[in-house]
Amino acid sequence: MEIDDLPYQFPEGLRVFVIDHDTTQLHVIANMCFQCNYRVATCIVASFTLHLLRETNGRFFYVILIEAQMSDMDSYQFLQCVTQEIKIPVIMMCADNTTSERMNAIEKGACDYWLKPLNVNHINNMWQQFKNMIKLKEYFR
């Protein structure tokens, strides 16, 4: 994604992909994103999402949010594939708060590791994660 493609200064319209095998949690998180005027896609299956991202070269999404313990696929494998191939910021989220899990996620390329349940502050911060990644790309241009 090119810097010049960025159409906005404001967080509105940030395109987010949320992946969680639990539909209750997915629904809550998606609604929090709507509140921030983000544009959200959701999926309960990580493998399909990966396929979709590969097919579209990650052109349509700016940030990905994924549950750390998905049932269809290892979330850390998903993380590695996305960060290596598609280069979109990935945030992991989990109901567990172990330091080792957090470190594991960051080491494997996650931008952040959020403890569930998420709140609106987390969602607002997605925009910040995205901006940081853009800054990094600018720096290395």
Partner: protein, 156 residues
Amino acid sequence: MEKNQSRMQLVAMKQSFFDQGLLDEQFIQLEELQDDVNPNFVEEIVILYYGDSLRLISSIEQALKERNLLDFNKLDTLMHQFTGSSSSIGAKKVKAECNLFREYCRAGNIEGCMKSFQQCKKEYASLRKKLEAYFQASWVLGGSMPLQVKKIKANP
């Protein structure tokens, strides 16, 4: 005048849920997502939660039937999802029981698992009844009816 009294009763009912430790701040987060566009959001999420988690609960029940050959990893994974779900609606006591279950799981304590799961189900059922009463009372007050006036189903 009567409406004001009913409104106060509703507020008191909700406050009691917080005072008894049944719900936490996450429930308030959900309420803040409710607006004119989404007037029944909280109730919809609660209905979704009770619908979804039935499957999880029966999977856990199935797994616990193995008695002395419990697959603790599987149990922990199932309970991990149930914990996340419960915490996302602010079900504080249910979440606490889930965490206790997971501790017993990690310790390989069969007896502990059985007992805490019973507690889990008890808190889960009790919360459902209380929330049903709460939502019913808020309709009576003239809140909008949810699109699907679905009574939350009892456990089979």
